[in-house]
């Protein structure tokens, strides 16, 4: 899994919602335009990691895209004898992967939470989003620990499907029960911090925004609407 990559680039300095709108623009183009236009947009999508100064995004993108592009070319270009559809699907996949990998690399989750909190979104919603992002690596690590502990206690996975299924309860029960045990303590901590309150919170250091970026986001919205209108009237 790729995460935030700290760099100093024009994309890193942009407001998080500007980056999200950029991603929406690329995605809208991917699903509303013909193959040739989508292919051009895909090449622009591949250029985004260079704008973000994050070549690691290209490597991660290559790993994710390789099997998908292989099957797109095989299923539609070779077996389906429809190269235009192969180009459309392949370009669409490139856009979906490269653009969102770039978004993940340039938008820090904390900055995104500050940005949406500043917009007036309730703290509970922002918290759910941020807590989910941080819960996943912690839960993965806990799962790895459970697997190691149970293997030390003699857990072995047999070859048959039934043997594999039998291995699930000793792995899942400790993981889930220990997680549920922590709900009470977490809920008390959230309650004393007023997490469920309706009071609007003020971020200490919200991401910088500018009139130019607000205008850019408005322009992106209008372009998306035009793209959808063109698709509907084609």
């Amino acid at each position: 899994m790729i995460g935030y990559v700290q760099r100093d680039s024009i994309l890193h300095r942009a407001h998080p919602t500007t980056i999200l709108w950029l991603a929406i623009l690329f995605t809208t183009a991917a699903f509303t335009q013909p193959a040739t236009v989508v292919a051009f947009v895909a090449s622009a999508g591949v250029a985004l990691p260079f704008l973000a100064r994050s070549q690691s995004v290209l490597k991660s993108g290559a790993v994710v895209l390789s099997p998908l592009l292989f099957f797109a070319v095989l299923l539609h270009g070779i077996l389906g004898h429809d190269p235009e559809r192969a180009v459309l699907l392949g370009s669409r996949l490139i856009i979906l992967v490269m653009v969102f990998l770039t978004v993940v690399a340039v938008v820090h989750p904390g900055r995104l939470v500050d940005a949406i909190t500043e917009r007036g979104v309730r703290f509970s919603i922002a918290y759910l989003f941020a807590a989910s992002l941080t819960a996943v690596p912690a839960m993965r690590e806990r799962a790895r620990l459970v697997v190691t502990a149970q293997r030390c206690r003699g857990l072995r996975v047999g070859r048959s499907a039934w043997a594999k299924l039998r291995a699930l309860p000793p792995l899942l029960i400790p993981l889930v029960v220990s997680s549920l045990e922590s709900v009470d303590a977490r809920s008390v901590a959230l309650a004393v911090r007023g997490a469920h309150g309706a009071t609007r919170r003020t971020p200490i250091d919200p991401p910088a925004d500018s009139a130019m970026q607000r205008l850019l986001r408005l322009l992106i919205l209008m372009i998306c609407m035009v793209l959808v209108w063109l698709r509907l009237t084609r």
Binding site: R85, V136, R140, L165, V176, V177, S179, S182, L190
Partner: protein, 192 residues
């Protein structure tokens, strides 16, 4: 949104996305990426399960950097909805009942995922499912049907095991912990 739910839902999302570690160790050809969602439906009901499904899909998209998964959000929400419905019908009160509900949810999930996988992505989605569809297509199955059959085979097994796993978890909850989640008793058919 109570503090209890604020504490529980991210953990359930974490369970959904951490299942890959467990599945990789066992070598089972399934995802089990809705265990957390179905568990939340059984513990606290429909709306929290829907939120868990939504958060899981968004988080998975951000963590894998592949926005393709966002297109399958309706499938996650349908699983949450059906799981909550199963809870109301005490669908986890026996192994047979949980299995039947799991297969039913798998059927619905595959049927909902098919138009997304085929029409939007031309059948090119997860590597394993796409490989099955390719093989089926090669032996003469029309691509649309091949995509559906591939999706059905993985979803039936995945949701069947998911529901059986959740029943195991509900039965294994310590009494003290189960008392905090009254819905769990309804799911098991033991509530008054």
């Amino acid at each position: 949104m109570t503090p209890r739910l604020l504490a529980l839902l991210p953990l359930a999302v974490g369970i959904n996305l951490a299942m890959s570690e467990i599945v990789a160790f066992t070598g089972l050809p399934v995802y089990l990426d809705t265990v957390g969602t179905v568990l939340v439906a059984a513990l606290v009901g429909l709306v929290p399960a829907l939120i868990t499904g939504l958060l899981s899909q968004v988080t998975m998209t951000l963590m894998l950097g592949n926005s393709m998964w966002l297109a399958f959000l309706p499938v996650q929400l349908a699983v949450a909805l059906l799981a909550a419905f199963a809870v109301r019908r005490a669908g986890f009160n026996s192994w047979a009942s949980a299995a039947v509900w799991g297969l039913a949810v798998g059927l619905v999930a595959a049927t909902m995922a098919w138009p997304i996988a085929y029409a939007v992505f031309g059948g090119v989605t997860a590597t394993g499912t796409t490989a099955i569809a390719t093989v089926l297509n090669q032996i003469g199955t029309p691509l649309g049907l091949a995509v559906y059959l591939a999706s059905l085979s993985t979803d039936l097994a995945d949701k069947l095991i998911t529901f059986l796993v959740v029943r195991t978890l509900l039965k294994s909850l310590p009494i003290r912990l189960a008392a905090r989640f009254p819905e769990a008793a309804r799911a098991l058919g033991t509530s008054g």
